[in-house]
C-alpha cells in the first residue's frame, strides 16, 4: 500500500510502485480529467502538478510522488493561478475538441504561479511541450495573457 496526496486528500492505494500516476488517477481513482495522449511524455496531455511543478503523469511512477502534493485539473481551480487561467480559457473559448486542454491549463497555471507576468518567450518556453492538434495555440497564448492581467 502506498499513500498519495491527491488534491489535498490522502489516498491509500494498492498499486505497483512503478505504475505511472496517469493510470493511477484515471483507472484506480476514476479521475478522468487528466488525459492519455502518447504515453511517452511527448505531448503534454497528461500534465499534472507535483509540488506545483508541471509533470508528465504518463511517465512518472507513483513511487516518485509519495510524500509530495499532487494537483490535477479537477482541483486546479482552487489555486489562484489556476482559477485565473480557467476563467480566461472560458472567456476566450479556447478549447476546440478539448482533449489536450487539461494539460494546457496545467502547464499555463504552473507558468503563471511562478511568473505572474510572463513574456512571449516565457509562454513559448512553458507551453512548448503541450501539443494541440486542433491548433488552438493563438487562443492559448491570448488566454495566458488575459489571465496575467
Amino acid at each position: 500500500m502506498i499513500t498519495l496526496n491527491v488534491n489535498g486528500k490522502a489516498r491509500q492505494l494498492d498499486v505497483p510502485d512503478d505504475m505511472p500516476l496517469l493510470w493511477t488517477l484515471r483507472d484506480v481513482l476514476g479521475m478522468t480529467g487528466t488525459k492519455f495522449g502518447c504515453g511517452l511524455g511527448l505531448c503534454g496531455a497528461c500534465t499534472i502538478h507535483v509540488d506545483g511543478q508541471p509533470t508528465r503523469s504518463c511517465i512518472t511512477p507513483v513511487s516518485a510522488a509519495v510524500g509530495r502534493r499532487i494537483t490535477t485539473i479537477e482541483a486546479i481551480g482552487t489555486t489562484s493561478a489556476g482559477s485565473k487561467v480557467q476563467r480566461a480559457w472560458l472567456a476566450l473559448d479556447v478549447p476546440q475538441c478539448g482533449y489536450c486542454q487539461s494539460g494546457q491549463i496545467m502547464s499555463a497555471s504552473a507558468l503563471l504561479a511562478s511568473k505572474p507576468k510572463p513574456t512571449d518567450a516565457d509562454i513559448d518556453g512553458a507551453m512548448a511541450g503541450n501539443i494541440c492538434r486542433c491548433g488552438t495555440y493563438p487562443r492559448i497564448r491570448a488566454a495566458i495573457k488575459e489571465a496575467a492581467k
Binding site: V15, P16, M19, P20, W23, T24, R26, D27, V28, G30, M31, T32, G33, T34, K35, F36, T72, I73, E74, G77, Q86, W89, L90, D93, V94, P95, Q96, C97, G98, Y99, Q101, S102, I105, C134
Partner: protein, 302 residues
C-alpha cells in the same frame, strides 16, 4: 408560416410522462434512399429524446458526439429556437452505444462525421422543439380555459397576453405529457429565427476547462476492466503465438483474448494491461504483404 412535416415522419414522435416530466421520443429519419423501403408497420424505434422536467430543465439525449465541431451548441440551438427556451438551458446527454438504434441517419452507422449532424437534425429537431412548445401552450390554455391561439411561448414560459398570466414550462410538463402528440406543427420561417444563423458561445467549454468533459476514453462502468490491443503490423497478417501464461503472471491481468489478426490483454487497469501485452510478446505471421513496399504500391497504382 408553413408546415414542413410529412405525416409519416411526423408520426415518429411519441410522448411519455417520464417520472415527473415530459419526454418526447423521436425518430431521426432514416437515409432517404432507404426510407421509402421501410414498411409502415415496422415498430417505431426512437433514437433521440427531448425531456423537460418539473424544474423546467430541458435535456436532449442524442447520438451525435461533440469533437470540437460545435454539435453540443448547434443542436441545442435548433431545439431552443422552436421550443422558445434559452439555449444555455438545454443540456445534452449522450446516447449509449447501439448501432441498431442510434445509427447516423445519413450514414447508417453510429458515427458522427461528414458534416451530417445538422443536415440530419435540422428539420426533425426543430419539429421536436415546436411540437413540445405547442403541447405546453395547449396545457396552459386548458389550465386557464382560454384558446391556445391567445397564448404564446417565450423564454421557457407560456404567456396569456390579455391577462398577463404566465406559467413556467416546468409547471406544465405533467399536463402536457397527457396530451396527444401535436400534429402538423408549423415551424418558424427563417426570417423569424432568433438563434439559428447567429453566432453563439460554445456550450461545451466549461467541461473542457475543468476536466469534467467525458471523452470516449473516459467511460467508466461498474466493474469495468481495461484492455490493451495489439494488431498485426501487416495488412492480412495473422497472430502466430502469444505467451499467455507470462501475460497472466502480471498482477491484475485477467484474460488474454486472441483474434485472427489481433490480441487483447484485459486487466484491472491500463498499466497492468500494457505490461501484460508486453509480457505476452505476440508474434505474427506477416502474410502476403510481408514484403510490400512503397514502390510496390506506386507500381500497382500507375
Amino acid at each position: 408560416v408553413k408546415a414542413l412535416s410529412s405525416r409519416r415522419e411526423f408520426l415518429k414522435i411519441t410522448v411519455t410522462a417520464a417520472g415527473g416530466g415530459f419526454l418526447l421520443a423521436l425518430g431521426l429519419p432514416a437515409r432517404s434512399e432507404v426510407r421509402d423501403g421501410l414498411t409502415t408497420d415496422a415498430p417505431f424505434m426512437p433514437n433521440a429524446f427531448l425531456r423537460i422536467d418539473r424544474a423546467g430543465k430541458v435535456t436532449f439525449v442524442m447520438p451525435f458526439i461533440e469533437m470540437g465541431q460545435g454539435t453540443y451548441t448547434s443542436i441545442p440551438m435548433l431545439i431552443a429556437e422552436e421550443l422558445e427556451v434559452d439555449v444555455d438551458k438545454v443540456a445534452i446527454e449522450h446516447s449509449p452505444a447501439d448501432d441498431k438504434i442510434y445509427a447516423n441517419p445519413l450514414i447508417g452507422l453510429q458515427l458522427t462525421g461528414g458534416s451530417t449532424s445538422i443536415r440530419a437534425s435540422y428539420v426533425p429537431l426543430r419539429r421536436a422543439g415546436a411540437t413540445a412548445r405547442v403541447m405546453l401552450v395547449t396545457a396552459a390554455a386548458q389550465r386557464w380555459n382560454v384558446a391556445p391561439s391567445t397564448c404564446r411561448a417565450s423564454n421557457g414560459e407560456v404567456v396569456h397576453a390579455a391577462t398577463g398570466r404566465k406559467l413556467r414550462y416546468g409547471a406544465l410538463v405533467d399536463a402536457a405529457a397527457k396530451l396527444p402528440v401535436a400534429e402538423n406543427v408549423a415551424l418558424k420561417m427563417p426570417s423569424d429565427f432568433k438563434l439559428i444563423g447567429t453566432p453563439h458561445r460554445r456550450l461545451d467549454i466549461a467541461g473542457k476547462v475543468n476536466g469534467s468533459a467525458k471523452f470516449g476514453i473516459d467511460t467508466r462502468l461498474a466493474g469495468m476492466k481495461f484492455a490493451v490491443v495489439a494488431i498485426s503490423p501487416t495488412f492480412g497478417g495473422t497472430l502466430a503465438s502469444v505467451d499467455e501464461a507470462k501475460a497472466k503472471s502480471i498482477r491484475g491481468v485477467s484474460q488474454v483474448v486472441r483474434l485472427d489478426d489481433a490480441v487483447a490483454v484485459v486487466a484491472t487497469h491500463t498499466w497492468a494491461a500494457k505490461q501484460g501485452l508486453a509480457a505476452a510478446d505476440p508474434q505474427w505471421n506477416a502474410g502476403p504483404n510481408a514484403r510490400l513496399s512503397t514502390s510496390d504500391i506506386v507500381a500497382q497504382l500507375v
